[in-house]
Amino acid sequence: MSTSASLGTFEDKIAYIEGKCGDNGDFSARRFQVFGRYPAALFGFSNMINPEMLNTNVLRPLMYRPLQLDDVDDLPPERLRDVLINDSLFFSQAKIEEAPDRWISGLVHGQSVVVIDGLEGAIVVETRHIEKRGIEQPLTEQVIRGPREGFIEMLGTNLSLIRYRLQTPEFRVHTMEIGRRTHSSVAICHIDGITNPELVNEVKRRLSKIDVDGVLDSGYLEQYIEDNHITPFPQVQYTERPDKVVANLLEGRVAILVDGSPLALIVPTVFSQFYQTVEDYTERFLLMSAIRMARLVALMFSLVFPSLYVSIISFNPELIPTEFAVAVAGGRAGVPFPAVVEVLIMEISMEVLREATIRLPQQVGGALSIVGVLVIGQAAVSAGFASPITVVIIALTTIGSFATPAYNAALALRLLRFPLVIMAGIFGLYGVMIGLILIANHMLSLKSFGIPYLSPLIPGNFQGLKDLLIRGPLWWMKKRPAFLQTIDRDRLGSNTPPEREARNVLDPQKIKNKQER
């Protein structure tokens, strides 16, 4: 590493910077005179910097002498440094860097570098300006009741969205750079005094071990820091909602944000998080408990429904009521395949259709979904491909998998449905049970940062059960989740309302009495 001392003269420095960055078409270099006497040069990548700010806030004060120094006749080079930083540059993020490699890394980040003859080092000014899209509604996690803001690509904006909701100095952001070539900033967020410090250290350790050339999205990091790589189940949650990140930080988790990615990662993650939504907590508990149960039913549906159908139709039709069994058999009369093949064909075509609708441009998407629905539904039945009941089953399954809020968890269950259907086709209900046992055992052996994946169900925790299948009233959940082993365990004050002694201030009886008096 070369220092500025070894670079020596003014021209040496210019040659150094030109040599590193000069080949680029978007690199700009401009020579000028500081205070009309010291030769200087300004460097920057022109498309990453804000030219207006550069002109008015950097170039102008450097060229004109500050008013308060008008009477000083002679400015020796030794004093130049102090004058520049203390009197001249009215720009908050400017500093003098000695090491030339810092200039280069500053330049590629969008900073401007000013080299002045006679000055040790160079002035590095934060002039980064990159076009960004506005803050929009989170597309993948819509709510009816709750905040409407979603993350965007810029890390700084995302951090400000979090800090705006979490206005405490204990909210800590630790930044690091990952990616040998992309140098992406990664922010590790937690709340000091809540999150277990061991967890924060472990997250930092796992992240610092990553040595790849590029990190283009938080999804890259997820695959490096998860505990078990060969499992369909996600062990890291992602979200594009700042309020969800804040809620998780308050529970004692750690959030990881990457510059350039609108999705924050949340660790550690347990399975129950994947069917909970923000809305569960913003709407009243009785209603949301019911809706959460419905979501769980949908989750189970999306996993086992087709396989149960196949095994009952092919092996144990005596289980279902006779009239219905007859109806099912009648519907299947024209279908040449066994039930398992029929279901598999329909499932696969459903998956193809779903994938196609995601990839297609929006204008065509509508048309495709109509055609697809027709093909999958009516036409398949009349062509003798599938029985009407199969179509009902497939439709229920697909809808069920859409009801799971987390896309990656829904994907896991969608995937596991296929081996289950095949097991059902071979062994009937027995096979389905074997498959489910394998899945359950696998989930029981999973861990996310040491936390068993099915916490708080297994290992059991009474506090946790209040927010597992139902969503208990907020004032029931006095403690943060025990499995996160937070420093500060209490969420609620000791005697927080609900208002127990509600005063009926507008009781009509009272008013009548008053009037009579």
Binding site: I320, P321, L429, I434, L444, S445
Partner: protein
């Protein structure tokens, strides 16, 4: 990395219950009725008491040596080679028990639902399932038992509750039986169904508080034994003693005879059998785990996992030895009786000798490693 002591009392109790409740529940009323016709529930109850004695012995032994499994303290108590011989017997017995459980359930499945499937296939599927799951550590092992615990308790109770519609109390009167013949034999056979409780010897060294092992085993025996008595009582009161004698798996017939209200499912036997896969799986898991864990401890190996597939072919071949169901049940009864020596007499002998020789394991100070 793995904290050594983490299994709670509830988890221990659920391990016991889900290990004990297994495929044995299906022919249980038949064994009981053969021994004491209408006195079947009483016979079962007595057998539960006997089995409890065995569990108490194991718990007391385990609490005396809270750091060790039976393979390890066996050597301490009666010397190196006799202890190893005892451990070898335990390993052999549980390997046989695993194979017989797999075979018995394989036969049930083949007879009741998958009529065209060869029994080899159902047996090997169950064994593979156990072998795959046994590769986890003891933490996951206890999680698995804890997770399935409600899944095997409630369907059984559910069937019993639904069958009460057809029950007649007269069928179980007089409760001491009409002309009991072969009472002792029946009690022994039923007691043998509780042999899975031997898994306690592997669990105690990992309990958070080994001194509560007795409480856990009492809870476990209460739940499992209670369920056994209830099932026998329900079956006999629905079918009557003489009818039950003609049924191969009376509990399954009980499920067949009941139907859900509102006719959602017309028959429950296939559904019951499907749910029962979990019960059998947990039993298999325990006995296979005990086998390979003891084997690896006998050979002083750190990791028990290498045995999981190594022993599989042997277990499978043993499972295929009985020629038919009749011979299989003869073997099961015989093995059960031999097993009582291993699961009750051997620990009893160890306990007596350890008291006489004043041997004790190191006490754990659980405050120091929470």
């Amino acid at each position: 990395m793995e904290p050594k002591r983490h299994i709670t009392v509830i988890e221990t109790a659920s391990i016991l219950v889900s290990t004990i409740i297994g495929v044995g529940v299906l022919p249980l009323p038949l064994f009981a009725v053969n021994a004491g016709d209408s006195g079947a529930p009483l016979i079962t109850f007595v057998a539960v008491l006997f089995a409890t004695v065995g569990v108490v012995l194991i718990a007391v032994l385990g609490m005396r040596f809270p750091e060790q499994t039976i393979v390890q303290y066996g050597e301490t108590i009666i010397g190196k080679w006799p202890g190893r011989l005892g451990s070898l017997l335990v390993i052999g017995f549980f390997a046989v028990l695993t194979s017989l459980t797999a075979r018995e359930f394989g036969e049930v499945v083949v007879t009741a639902v998958l009529k065209k499937t060869p029994v080899e296939v159902t047996v090997i599927v169950m064994l593979l399932l156990a072998a795959l799951s046994v590769r986890n550590n003891l933490t996951t092992f206890s999680y698995i038992h804890y997770f399935y615990f409600p899944l095997l308790l409630f369907p059984a109770l559910f069937i019993v509750a639904l069958s009460l519609k057809n029950a007649d109390v007269q069928n179980i009167l007089p409760i001491w039986g009409n002309r009991p013949v072969g009472v002792t034999r029946g009690i022994i056979t039923i007691t043998a169904l509780f042999q899975g409780s031997f898994i306690l010897t592997s669990v105690i060294p990992h309990m958070r508080r080994p001194e509560y092992a007795m409480r856990a085993s009492m809870v476990g025996m209460l739940v499992a034994g209670g369920l056994y008595v209830i099932i026998v009582a329900a079956t006999v009161s629905v079918f009557g003693a003489e009818e039950t004698k003609k049924l191969l798996w009376p509990t399954l017939e009980l499920a067949k005879a009941t139907s859900l209200p509102a006719n959602v499912l017309e028959r429950l036997d296939a559904a019951f059998l499907a749910v029962w896969v979990t019960a059998v799986f947990t039993t298999l898991l325990s006995s296979y785990f005990l086998t390979i864990q003891s084997a690896s401890q006998l050979l002083k190996l750190k990791d028990h996992r290498m045995f999981s597939f190594f022993l599989l072919p042997f277990v499978f071949v043993m499972a295929m030895q009985p020629q038919n169901i009749v011979q299989m049940y003869q073997i099961i009864e015989l093995v059960g009786r031999i097993g009582l020596f291993i699961t009750i007499a051997y620990p009893a002998m160890l306990l007596v000798v350890s008291i006489l020789r004043k041997k004790r394991g190191e006490r754990v100070d659980d405050r120091s490693n929470p």
